[in-house]
């Protein structure tokens, strides 16, 4: 299983440029997952102990409101990374993530990675700087969305 995941992971834009040793560490924490359309990958307030690199399909990040039902905030697809609450205490998901269509992803064990990052700051830096870029892009996009630019 691990022998087959390594080449796939090496091709992921998110992990590009990671040295072989660190990639090997990540491969050790990774496994393949598959979700049918409608299945949840993660749910609000549950423990956040993993993140996903989406290989195929599409995932909606949703928030549920009592009066309007679930609202889709953003959709993610091939090559996108889902989930960063595993990095931040208290390690709980803040949104729901649901497969819109058949979705295949690599899931990485965050609990395991948190421990490895503590021991290996180099790995911690590599991972965090990659996440920072994702967080930055999502924040910019969210701000633009907030502007509701098409309204008038």
């Amino acid at each position: 299983m691990h022998q087959t995941l390594e080449p796939i992971m090496a091709e992921q834009p998110f992990l590009k440029g990671l040295d072989a040793e660190h990639l090997q560490l990540l491969v050790g924490c990774a496994s393949n997952v598959r979700y049918e359309a409608g299945q949840y990958l993660l749910r609000e307030s549950e423990e956040a102990n993993q993140f996903y690199i989406i290989r195929h399909g599409r995932v909606a990040i949703e928030v549920y409101t009592p009066n309007r039902g679930p609202i889709v905030i953003e959709t993610l697809g091939e090559g996108d990374v889902l989930g960063w609450s595993w990095l931040v205490p208290p390690y709980n998901w803040r949104f729901d993530a649901r497969a819109i269509e058949l979705t295949r992803a690599i899931v990485l064990d965050g609990k395991c990675l948190r421990g490895k990052c503590e021991q290996d700051y180099q790995l911690g830096y590599e991972l965090l700087s990659r996440f920072l870029q994702i967080i930055e892009r999502r924040l910019q996009a969210t701000r633009l969305q907030l502007l509701d630019v098409y309204k008038d």
């Binding site: 599409r58 039902g69 609202i71 959709t75 091939e78 996009a141 969305q145 098409y150």
Partner: protein, 291 residues
């Protein structure tokens, strides 16, 4: 109109003529139909039978009797000029008055005005077209033209952003284009209920999903100014040369022909130097406030 100015005196007088650029030509409404909840298209035919040829990206001044005149980009097919098509958001008195017109009613048209999309300059290149909201309307003639001469371009992608799924313009046409193998069509919305199975997120989030060779890509962008700024930044970061990024801008316009002074942006009159301008010309100006 004949006047007796010729007898008024010596030399320099000029005969006033009907081609006074401030006088509208009359067109007949053939069809008006809704596109989305707040936008509609109108198809016009010239009363005098003389068709209006235009370049993708140009606009007309549309005059409604007694109400006023507004600049509206042409959204029809440049290779089928018999029908003059405009797609309009009902926001002001003039656009609402146009919406109320019926088949056979007359409307005044002046134009076509402004610079078009530099589509010739994109030949041989990959083409990325990014539209936000009603911004798809001035891009549609460009899409028609590019698809009509598809062999002249490399990869072609159309990225469309809208507020909600119901606000997406030309939906059936987008679906038809998506069915073609020679153009990538991606649509995203800012907000959606769960029933929407497409993308949710800003239009820039679609850029990583398409394939293009940045160094030889020409991009055509139209939408709200903030959206265009974000799109420009994203495309530049990916290596699209600044001089290959083209925007369609909007400013207050009264005359459409560079005489009334309203639509200035730095040294440019948006009505005659634009509305399409290269980012290399406007990048510094766009960083300034209240210009």
């Amino acid at each position: 109109m004949k006047t007796d100015i010729g007898t008024a005196g010596p030399g320099r007088q000029t005969e006033p003529t009907l081609d006074d650029p401030i006088l509208p030509r009359m067109f007949q409404v053939r069809r008006i139909f809704s596109e989305t909840a707040d936008s509609f298209s109108c198809e016009l035919q010239p009363s005098d039978g003389e068709v209006m040829h235009f370049s993708p990206g140009q606009f007309n001044m549309l005059y409604v009797f007694g109400v006023g005149e507004i600049p509206i980009s042409i959204s029809g097919n440049p290779d089928k000029p018999k029908l003059l098509v405009h797609t309009i958001r009902s926001v002001g008195p003039a656009s609402k008055a146009i919406r109320r017109l019926k088949r056979g009613d007359l409307i005044g048209v002046r134009g076509p005005y402004g610079t078009g999309w530099p589509v010739k300059g994109a030949e041989g290149n990959d083409v990325v077209i990014v539209a936000g909201g009603i911004g798809l309307a001035p891009l549609r003639p460009l899409i028609y033209r590019v698809l009509a001469e598809r062999e002249k371009y490399g990869r072609v992608a159309l990225l469309v952003g809208a507020r909600t799924p119901g606000d997406i313009l030309f939906q059936r046409q987008l679906e038809r284009w998506r069915g073609r193998l020679d153009i990538d069509v991606l649509v995203t919305v800012d907000k959606a209920p769960r029933s929407w199975r497409g993308n949710v997120g800003v239009v820039t989030s679609l850029i990583p999903k398409i394939r293009f060779d940045p160094a030889t890509t020409t991009a055509f962008v139209c939408g709200p100014e903030v959206m265009m700024r974000f799109t420009a930044m994203e495309l530049e970061v990916r290596g699209v040369p600044t001089s290959n990024l083209h925007f369609s801008l909007e400013r207050n316009m009264k005359c459409g022909i560079g005489l009334c002074g309203h639509c200035q942006l730095g040294p440019y009159f948006i009505c005659k130097d634009g509305p399409v301008l290269g980012l290399d010309k406007i990048k510094k100006l766009m960083a300034l406030r209240e210009i």
